[in-house]
Symmetry: C2
Subunit: 334 residues, 2 copies
């Protein structure tokens, strides 16, 4: 990406092993993320550009001398962060705060160097032609992110939930909330094709209105008080303000859309009603391990969020389609 | 209070029963709160003034026809809010969001009308001459507020805690964290007399420095990463920013100091490290009931935060003493 709206596919030298803990992974599927659209809208133009993409599944091509858990030929899933799996944060399950980790940013490619491969990569017993590839790819980001929203919000049986946003993360937050036993799931989104999929994923109600009108609708659906949890899957300030409007007193707002703002109404707006604000990046290995069996055994089909597939050369068109909302989420097949 | 710095003691008509669910309570002890100092610094001058005070213990003088749980002569504790005890929020223990409740604002007086007396008032088996009165009075606000900070932060055994603020709430947040089993309790405060009392209440470390220097000190004391919980007992923006600096990734900031700001850094500052922000008003009846036995049986002595006692006529001097930090917390004996 050379600047807002300017995505180009270019030939770069192949990545190589650099550290003994690295693996090289040939990318079998990657995709475009809603969060990739933020720089697509605002990145200042530069001459050198930057690589893009943080979601991928693939086959291990080579490993460094210290890598013990994966070997060439293994099919692997990479969460969107890399981590050692052994530091104090990793041991607690918070891989995104790994003392030696980082976030992928070059996965829209034919191959990726994966640092700290033993910590990061999760093997999946599938072949490159598996029909499960789209669903497995969601374990790289959008499903584990939606799941993180539901987990950090404390969603369980009989919880009432509002999901803000009908992008792939929002729809999979619906799926995650349903999977955790939520009783009522209100999906706020304006695109009928998407909210229809959200209903199939478990939404019990859909609210197409936004702002005050949307807040009023959610309150009507919830006996006047809103839902005890809100999963904010957008990242823009109006979505946060909407969350404040639909959350029940004493409830939890969990954000997984990357906040596109520094300051927010977080004084009395949260305090006087004993609201809790939580969430963050959800690239935790334990989520991949927890959700993988449900994908492999077909109990959930999160890959349904992909509604267009392109080749690597067509990636710029993938960005355009998602930006125009012609596509919900674009799968890229290198 | 007729404006910033302008507190007067005046003769008003006695309060009377207005609703069948009211009680009239003769105030035996009241006090000045750190939060009373906010209007003391900033209240615009008015001709009519406003009554002040939200903390009191006393003796029931009269009750409305529907009141069943307290009767004249009972010694009672009032949390700083009133509530019905039966609405959906009260049943969940969140009395401060009671659908029919409100907050006291006229307790620096000889008598107070208590709406919804059955929900609000907790009986205590003591006489007016009890040596426990100061400690019982802290159940009206400062102890239950400190306890709320610790509870909502999830403090338990082996939790590490930073308490920001060496006012009465901060010191009793130390006591509450200790009571819940916290392993390490770092108290951030600059007033040695107060932090010495904090050590007696259970603080394992004291950091007198503020801002970046204070943050650095806390990190040194905690293996570089900060504490997993922070109890913010001040309410000003620099205290919130300090909380961001000393909290461990994945940790919780609980605020019980009433925020004196509308906007705060609550975007990536919280998000990227998966921080949780929680807290709010802590006037929950269940806290009074839970902590009362510890006070009655002398296991805790929270009343030690009172270091000056005045008569009702000297209340203005009580404000001045607290504002100048000559007194930690001023007890008022009507």
């Amino acid at each position: 990406m050379y600047g807002a709206g300017d995505v180009r596919v270019e030939k770069l030298p192949d990545p190589t092993l650099q550290d003994a803990t690295d693996a090289l992974v040939r990318v079998v599927r990657t995709c475009v993320c809603g969060s990739d659209l933020h720089p697509y809208h605002s990145l200042p133009a530069t001459a050198q550009g930057r690589q893009m993409g943080h979601e991928f599944i693939g086959v291990v091509e080579d490993v460094g001398s210290e890598v013990t858990t994966v070997r060439p030929g293994d099919f692997v899933i990479a969460p969107f962060a890399w981590f050692d799996g052994t530091c104090e944060f990793c041991r607690e399950g918070l891989n995104t705060s790994c003392l030696h980790g980082g976030f992928f940013s070059e996965a829209q490619a034919e191959a990726v160097r994966v640092p700290l491969a033993d910590g990061t990569l999760v093997k999946a017993p599938v072949g490159e032609d598996s029909a499960l590839l789209p669903s497995l790819l969601t374990l790289s980001d959008v499903l584990i992110t939606g799941h993180h929203a539901a987990v950090t919000a404390g969603v369980g049986e009989r919880t009432s939930v509002t999901v803000i946003g009908d992008g792939a993360v929002g729809l999979l937050a619906v799926m995650a909330a349903r999977r955790l036993g939520a009783e009522q799931i209100v999906l706020m989104g304006r695109h009928k094709v998407r909210t229809d999929l959200g209903r199939e994923f478990g939404a019990t109600d859909v609210v197409a209105e936004r702002g005050e009108e949307g807040i009023e609708k959610v309150r009507e659906l919830t006996g006047g008080q809103g839902t005890s949890t809100v999963l904010e899957c957008v990242g823009h300030l109006p979505a946060y303000e909407q969350a404040l409007g639909v959350v029940r007193s004493g409830g939890v707002i969990s954000r997984v859309g990357v906040p596109q703002y520094e300051q927010a109404p977080a004084g009395p707006a949260l305090f006087r009603r004993n609201l809790t604000l939580t969430g963050g990046p959800g690239a935790q290995r334990r989520y991949v391990e927890e959700l993988l069996p449900d994908v492999l055994e077909g109990r959930i089909e999160p890959g349904r969020v992909f509604d267009r597939t392109v080749g690597l050369d067509e990636t710029p068109e993938g960005y355009r389609a998602m930006d125009r909302r012609e596509a919900l989420k674009v799968l890229v097949r290198p």
